[in-house]
Amino acid sequence: MSVPSSWWIDWKLSPGALTRETAGRLVLFLLLGLFFLALVLSGGGNRFLSGQWTITAVLRFSVPEAEGRGIAAKVSGLAVVGSAVYKSPEEAWKEFTAAYPGLDSLRAAGGNPLPGYVEIRLRPDRLSEKAVASVDAALRPLPQVEEVLTGGKWAPRILRVKRWVNAVFWAGFGLLGAAFVAIFIVQEKVRTLLHAADFAFLTERGVSSRGMALRRAAAASLCGAGLALVSIGAAAGTCFLLDARYSFFRTVVGPPLEIMAPDAIVLLVVFLIAAALLSGAASLIGWRAALSSRR
């Protein structure tokens, strides 16, 4: 009898207060959504590190340019490799002289002293010791390759630091999410206490208390999912704006279009589902807490 009209029971009881509360939650969700999207795109420190850190395969002097490009193309095909670019001896010389001006005289003695090389960057999401080792193992046996530079003894340390940085970022995200859930629980509890007399009125007139709690939780879940969706949309828009305005954004966070990648979409769906479930849970916990405190 009472189900259809009392689905959005809190909205019917106090639309103004609920609107303000929802607006507040939207702000929190916007913060969380932006944080989450930045983490998904960047992988924490992965994007920055993979942009800065290259594996260099130094080729022998005798390797012609076409062969060098062929090696680069083959390396690009490895699953862990983001990009592999062949640099000819001439390009290598230009880079050298740009980095160390005034050493032009070195070439006068006997031609270009630098060989060509292949500059390899790993995919941000695959950056690990195992990936470095697999690239090293693929290149080292080649007769055209003189040497493979992977960072030596520093590589494991840097990768360990990267893991810590990522853990700190995700822990920060988790803490922020937990803090917001705690705020939602308090909001739910206060609202339930405020409307305790209303709920008692309804219960005394045959509306099931359990049903009311579940309907409120369902409504809170829907609201949470909706707010999360809006926040992700707004965060994506913000990423596009920042990317257009600041060049470092792409280096640190990544290209916003990668939001459309299947892995990212799966994570965003998980975010929406988690937002819905936690909002519903907050509603139920707030309801129970309010009832307990009234007893």
Partner: protein, 265 residues
Amino acid sequence: MIEAFRLGALGRDGTLWDGVDLSFGDGEVWLVSGPPSCGKSVLLRILRGDRRPDAGDVVVGGESLFRGARDAVASFRASAGMVPESFPSGAFAAPRPGMARTVRDLFRLSALVAGPIAATERQRREEELLALVGLSAPDSEAGTRPCGDAHAWELSSLSLSERARVALAVELLRNPKYLFADMLVANAGKDWTDKLGALFRALAREGRTIVLAERAVPDRWQVARTGDPAASGPFSFYRLGVPAPEPKRSDLEWRPDDAGGKEGA
């Protein structure tokens, strides 16, 4: 039909009453009277399913309220209206400073229980009911609040009589099949005794069962005491005569010239 068999209730100091039998038929108005603190409110709460009796059982429409199906009480409550002795309470009227509830809020709450009602239909019924209980704007107690839409009146500003009548109107919005009212006639004031009697008779003619708890029987009501005194505990059960003719809606509507004066708070 509401029937009770060998009902008993315990109070703080022992047995409040015991062995009460009663039978209230559909389309009847019943008045339960008794001395102060004899447990009239408790009886009403038990009959409505708000409190489990310490002895006996209540049967509504042939089904036990407390020993039958689990949802029997909830479904019975959904079809029953309740006007408590003190309602709306202070906590309800203003749950926190600056958040005063209005008559509109109370109707909105009742409409939640009633199920889907179109907004215009609800508005029409609310206005009709407010007029029925003498709470349309021009008829309100002068000087107590700004004139205007009675829906906007704050509950905390209402007099005792107005609160009782608002509570009645709010319950009637849901068209309850059963109506329980605790001290409603006394709280509504002398000026409303006859009008409420007429209203209850009209409601009974529509097939509703009305159960009133009052300390005393209103003087001008034509009532007949019934029931076995030995099975009535401390209560006296009176049945209000309900004439047979079909009711005319206009009989129920309250007109300003019906009022003999302003009722006190």
